[in-house]
């Protein structure tokens, strides 16, 4: 198991390198990890996995009912939903099938519902139906005045985006992938390996076609902030920066990423009883609009805004953005606005000038771009990974041995979901280890045992923020008033003395 955060990188070329350890890149690395004969690297500019657009997702496991029928996105979201739902159940990723209501607030929106129902059916989703105002009211008693009807989409679920990315990365690393963090790709060039005598085949090998050891081949050479990474095949899952890497490698680009900022407000757990479904707006020409949704952690989410920006680092919230969200939220769920806010944040979607995902294979360049993956990328991630590895197999042919796919050891992720027992509620767990009965973060009820487990896990957090995404410590209503210093003590103390926890 290899995760590196600093220092030199291995000089031996990789067979495949995935750039970007977001939810998509991590899913691809995990898929490749199933192919035991490949040397695979996952390189990430940040100090943690899922630290870019993935961490600020709206956390919905979509049915794909509202995708553009016939698009690649529609297909991969539909397949990905099925794959991820099964994977989540197996890995302990919290998912709650709460269902969604697309609420119509005026006659025009009401008139749009039948079209949306048809679209859902065209996307292969047959569970939707239109409900009247009375049913909307009885299903969501705290909804604001004036809802005229809704499209009921019972298949929509909420999911934990952080655990999903972490599960992929963990399984990839345990499956032999090298994860290199703090490793920003600065340049891309090529490198020709010196001809070398082929090593003797392993005694148990019956393969005689292993091209990786033939030497004299041309590799991509990625110049990173930590030195060179050499790789025979390259997969670009760099999210917001996918277009830049694309141009560097091909000299031309298929698309331009224009970050679309989404600001969100997270309300306290005490607000959770106010909302039962994901409350979606009826999409208009201006975009998908602002939703109110429960989270698997027991909070309520209000957002996102949609702002086209030039700056790929502009992840700040704004006065206007937050005021606009509050105004919209007040109409949807008036009582929500009286509740305390636990977090405000902004994420950037990797939007492009195209409607669909931008997944392109360039066999001659031994390169695949996985770009333009917007908020549905979480849902579609496993299907994208399967699709991309299929493209890689086509592009590489016999040059890469992608035929031998073994099973990865299953992962069991720590549960952050309120719908499932958390360690502080489990007498059995506390009886075996009292650290699970010692609550450090009171708002989120995170125990010393969970913090310790995260700090010694396969992909440990590189920062307090990373620890928060793994455990929720410091993520509650007090934002560290009670536990901040204690959590930092555990985080800082771990490296120096293993006994700190």
């Amino acid at each position: 198991m290899t995760v590196t955060t600093k220092g030199p990188l291995p000089s031996e070329p990789y067979d495949v390198t995935v750039v970007g350890a977001g939810v998509v890149g991590s899913a691809i690395a995990r898929e490749l990890a199933g192919h035991h004969r490949l040397r695979v690297a996952l390189v990430e500019a940040s100090g943690d996995v899922g630290d870019g657009t993935s961490k600020a997702n709206t956390a919905i496991l979509h049915t794909g009912f509202d995708a553009v029928p016939g698009s690649l996105e529609s297909r991969l979201v539909r397949e990905g939903q099925r794959l991820l739902a099964a994977y989540a159940a197996e890995s302990g990723i919290p998912v709650e099938p709460v269902g969604a209501l697309l609420v119509a607030w005026d006659e025009e929106q009401l008139a749009a519902l039948p079209g949306l129902l048809e679209k859902a059916e065209a996307n292969g989703y047959n569970g939707a139906r239109i409900i009247d105002a009375d049913e909307v009211r009885s299903r969501e008693p705290h909804l604001g005045e004036g809802a005229l009807g809704a499209l009921d989409v019972p298949g929509e679920s909420i999911i934990c985006p952080w655990t999903t990315t972490l599960a992929y990365a963990t399984q990839a690393v345990r499956g032999g992938v090298d994860l290199h963090l703090n490793c920003e790709v600065e340049r891309v060039g090529s490198w020709e390996s010196p001809p070398a005598p082929a090593p003797a085949p392993p005694p148990d090998s019956d393969s005689d076609s292993d091209s990786a050891s033939s030497g004299g081949s041309v590799c991509h050479e990625l110049t990173t902030s930590r030195g060179a990474v050499r790789t025979r095949y390259l997969i670009n899952a760099a999210g917001l920066h996918a277009d830049v890497l694309d141009r560097r490698l091909l000299g031309r680009g298929e698309f331009t990423v224009t970050p679309r900022r989404g600001q969100l407000i997270v309300f306290d757990k005490l607000a959770r009883d106010l909302v039962r479904h994901i409350l979606l707006p009826v999409p208009t020409a201006l975009g998908k609009g602002v939703l109110v949704a429960p989270t698997v952690y027991g909070n309520v989410l209000l957002g996102p805004t949609a702002e086209e920006l030039d700056d790929k680092r502009a992840t700040g919230t704004t006065e206007d953005g937050l005021a606009g969200l509050r105004a919209k939220g007040r109409r949807i769920l008036p009582a929500l606005l009286d509740e305390e806010v636990t977090a405000v944040y902004a994420g950037l979607r990797a939007a492009t000038e195209h409607d669909d995902y931008q997944i392109h294979s360039s066999p001659e360049a031994r390169y695949i771009t996985v770009g333009g993956i917007r908020s549905t990328g979480l849902t579609a991630s496993m299907a994208i990974a399967e699709y991309v590895v299929g493209l890689l197999a086509d592009a590489a042919g016999p040059d890469l041995d992608l035929t031998v796919a073994g099973d990865l050891d299953p992962v069991g992720m720590p549960n952050l979901g309120e719908a499932f027992p958390r360690p502080y509620q489990r007498a059995d767990l506390i009886a075996t280890d009292s650290a699970y009965g010692s609550i450090i973060c009171h708002c989120e009820r995170v125990t010393r045992g969970e913090i310790r487990d995260a700090l010694i896990s396969t992909v440990p957090p590189g920062s307090l923020e990373g620890l928060r995404r793994r455990t929720r410590a410091r993520g509650g209503r007090c934002q560290g008033f009670y536990c901040g210093a204690a959590v930092r003590e555990l985080f800082d103390g771990w490296g120096e003395s293993g006994a700190a926890c």
Binding site: E340, V341, V344, S438, F481, Y482, A485, A486, R488
Partner: protein
Amino acid sequence: MRRQRSVDVLVVGAGPAGLAAAARLAASGAGTVEVLERDARAGGVPRHCHHGGFGRWGVTGPQYAESLVEAALGGGAAVRTGVSATGWAGPLCLETTGPHGLERITARAVVLATGARERPRSARLVPGTRPAGVLTTGELQQAVHVYGQEIGTRAVVVGAEPVSYAALSALRRAGVEVAALVTEETRAQVGRARAASTRLGVAWVPLLTGAVVTELLGRGRLSGVRLRRRDGRESVLACDTVVFTGDFVPDHELARRGGVLLDPGTRGPAVDGSFRTASPGVFAVGNGVHAVEPARVAAGEGARVAEAVRGHLGGAGWPSGGVPVVAETPLRWVAPNRLVPGAAGGRFILRTAEALGCPVLVVLQDGRCLHRQRVRRRVLPNQGLYLSGGWVGKVDAGGGPVRVVVG
């Protein structure tokens, strides 16, 4: 799976209010009295306040906390630390988690003394990035006084209340330069002597009045805060640390989870003069009722609730209904906020939302004036404002709400 136990009185929170209540109850033979404290040590927030001014003799916070713990233990109360009350299994039955397992504790009376906390940056909706270096006073004081952690090099303190000056001294102790105190108000909300002392101390600290932090800047680590002055001018103050002080709210989660009626003004449990909530057998005291008063006020309420708890254990009936007491704009809240026949009198605590020059407080019920009281000083938001309770006997128990207005 959960161990079941019973006690006579279960106190939640071992801060000044809870410990004082437990000490008085245990010493007066109220039966088994148990205090639950989720923190690893008892004593509450004073433990983190390494400055004087606590108690009658001006002792420091930790000394004061220790004396409260000793009094509770000396009286015969059990104080259990590291045990969190996580929810309710019945009207007077709490579920707990601790290193020794899960319990379900049934009591004849429950006293909520859960305290208050400062609202963090997110709850104040301060926009910007989400860098490290953003604290509340509570986190700062623990980091400095309990753990001796590195804080930063240059800080901005948001607020100019007593707690803001406590943050200032914690920052100085940690060797952090303080760039400024920033307040939306027109002056510091402490005595002139204290405000002046910060200018005569180790380093002169400017107080920026009429200024609001409108944005946090920096990625990874805070690099500065954007300020907007009252005249609309904007500027950026470079700093790597910002401390949001004051803006206390009662920690009401357990009360809310138990269906205890809250007061819309204080956002803590609605209580009568004897600290009885609307839920029979459940009392609430201290800063969990009305953020935030000095520790001795919280402890005083803890001592005073003991008599009402003993009355309840002795079979006195639980008053239902009652007349609500409401504070009208520009007043923000009043506590106690329920009047029931037979409850203890005492004074009322209020807060104003805006500065008031020598206000006259008027108590009205159904158009009738019950009381007028002049406050002979200027009152600022977040400062103590008190109303004597001599008029309580004039309230019509069957009448409408009692309103406190500025006359």
